[in-house]
Symmetry: D3
Subunit: 168 residues, 6 copies
């Protein structure tokens, strides 16, 4: 039966030992989206020219948040991230029929453990930053579909998940 590695034999939380794990190049990609009213999306999409660059601010917030992951998630190890990149699309590209913004974060390190938490934190904070900037005009926004898309490096090698495999 599987057990949760963040707890020791006495069921006490701990930051698990990674001293003996080899340092390898690791990549994690996470994604998620914020759904909104069509009028809200229109305000963002025309932003660069007339309304301010909502996605540019959200991208910086996500990059900075990835670097704070071990401060936010209690049992995460601090890791020397070697790359962070964040992309946005209209959500309908990935989720037909959804009105909103999809965010994908790619985080890399050369280290002893994976960076999927860093990628997830980047996505969540980028989406929340969009929420913050749009909340005055739209109170119905919701954040959905946040999960890890793929990982490379480490003991398990490469791995990716199909959209339909995600628990909902």
């Amino acid at each position: 039966m599987p057990t949760l590695t963040h707890f020791d034999a006495q069921s006490q939380a701990q930051m698990v030992d990674i001293a003996a794990k080899p340092h390898t190049h690791r990549v994690a990609v996470a994604g998620g989206y914020i759904a909104m009213q069509a009028a809200t999306l229109a305000l963002i999409s025309t932003g660069q020219a007339r309304k301010g660059d909502v996605l540019g601010v959200a991208r910086i917030a996500g990059i900075q948040a990835a670097k704070k992951t071990s401060d936010l998630i209690p049992l995460c190890h601090p890791l020397p991230l070697t790359r962070i990149a964040i992309d946005f699309d209209e959500a309908s590209v990935h989720h037909p029929g959804v009105c909103g913004i999809f965010c994908r974060a790619t985080v890399e390190t050369v280290g002893a453990t994976g960076v999927e938490m860093e990628a997830l934190v980047a996505v969540q904070v980028a989406l929340l930053t969009i929420y913050d900037m749009c909340k005055a005009v739209d109170k119905s926004m919701g954040i959905h579909g946040v999960h890890v898309l793929q990982k490379q490096g480490g003991k398990s090698g490469g791995w990716q998940i199909a959209n339909h495999e995600i628990q909902r």
Copy 2:
């Protein structure tokens, strides 16, 4: 036509002026859930006794994250929070048929602007902390349905949203 208040007349991002707004008692409640395999949920649910207290760790992470909101969300004002509380339920209580954990965060202040971002950050970081602790046994988890449930205080008085009104 509505405009985004976080951008000035030249479309530059700014932290908006709240100096003249009265200080009132404000409450915000946000919620969201993490979906997972049934075996993962079983590990968490029996945790207090045998596997370690996943939800206890996630609750503390969410409380601490709410206090970091203005550090995470670039245009948020720092606010003196007067209360933070986080509750968990099985997700099926709120979303029939969903297997996972629902998180609700309540944040309060006496201040010049609302605390919905603080409540959302608390929910997201609490759910991500659950993700972190369970990711070794379940790579299919997804975070969904994160939104503001209700607000009290401020110019708009009380407000709450029905589940079906949320954009998906």
Copy 3:
């Protein structure tokens, strides 16, 4: 029977509600000491002139740490501190026969809850900073006698404790 206010009726940790408490001027004083070998104390005491200012560095570390209290102690409220002061004495002034440094921190606010945690954090981090600077020459140092000396303001008015009343 007394109960712990940081837990709700379901025994869940929370940051307790202080919205309705009046804002008053509050002062807390905490103290504690680090014991060391006589040769170590001599290095510190002659420091200003020849060895570098150990206590000056420790004072700044303590002041800065007091401002991080709500980030360090999970259920502490963020408070707008209005004054922080840190004093050092030879420990023998307060604890006859002890060789080392005594630290006292005074923290003030105008707010809805007390600042004893901020004063205690300032003392602990100041003493740890002394430890850090001296650890290469003395591995026998110990930190002892850390407690709240007095409080003013708030519902309980003034309060102070005699040294012999402290639990050891």
Copy 4:
């Protein structure tokens, strides 16, 4: 005559050069205790079941604080910690006759300098978190006996200290 390495030839504080030191596996263990009234200890000891999990919250606070060590202690180097574990006992196990909680923190890294400051910070913040949660029912608590118990790795190899060797 020994000198304090954190000061240069002009007696100015500095973060000392560790570029040429080899990276080795290092472990540090620190301990300390908080003394309290018997009724306070009883509240904590029965906590898991009825009063909330004081020690669970303190454990998370200590783990998170260890990761902030280089932010708290001015001349500490940032280090990639590979393990953090925190244990609690009744203080009387280690200090006969003392009523309270003993905390031990174990911190590990693979790096160029030791992690005793990280272990000490973890102990101090864990004990302060217990203080915070119990201060409403007991103002006589004191923190004592905080010191490094043992170190492994680095130039000096293994080292441990007997309780009676600690300066008081």
Copy 5:
């Protein structure tokens, strides 16, 4: 003879007492510029369209840094900022003949002490962020002319300084 208020009668650094000072609306404006080669300025100026938004990233960095002022400057009080705005111009608008970018930060609070340090921190970090993004193509950049332009509120009422009055 004037004295430095951040030191007490024993010449020890302290965070000075502001508990008795009235809360008033306060504004501070600071400015400064980064000088660079003409080719570097050209890369930034055409950025919005083709090279990425250097000034947009710098603006967010400056806003976020202003909120960290009391964490960076040891004796600064934490203050609830009510507005932060950052503007950029070509430096030649303010300093004829200079090739580069001028940054002006406006910070406001309703509080017991001024916010000029927050405005200065915002300017410095915004300019350093420009430096970071351009350093691969220009190693000759320099930051100059950073000072407080004007203050409003508090005991001294309004105040502003002429460019020629600044010490160089």
Copy 6:
């Protein structure tokens, strides 16, 4: 034509990939000065004895700030700094005729990218801390001449700049 590496092919900001770069010993030195009235400089220069140690506080602030660089500058990588040292001189030593304080910061790492941003942040925050302590007696202070003096390590080997080459 040169391009800005912090932006990808779609002109989006990113933290650039350094995974494949070798880890080498790197040093960066930055400098800058704060100009002030002669009476202000006199207060600082006599400080160690009678007015408090302004430069000692500024040195600690600069060292601590260097460790926060990746938190302040959005696209900077977190780096394990191996040494930080900060020196002060009267400004006239480096800039004849200038009344004030010159600050030089030396930062080192063994890593995949340079540390000039860390050195610049240390200088800026040290100078701002001097500003903070002296602002009550001198509102005419200005910060000038902040730039990188030299770098060692990495692909470009050694490099240094003459004062007259700096853009002003």
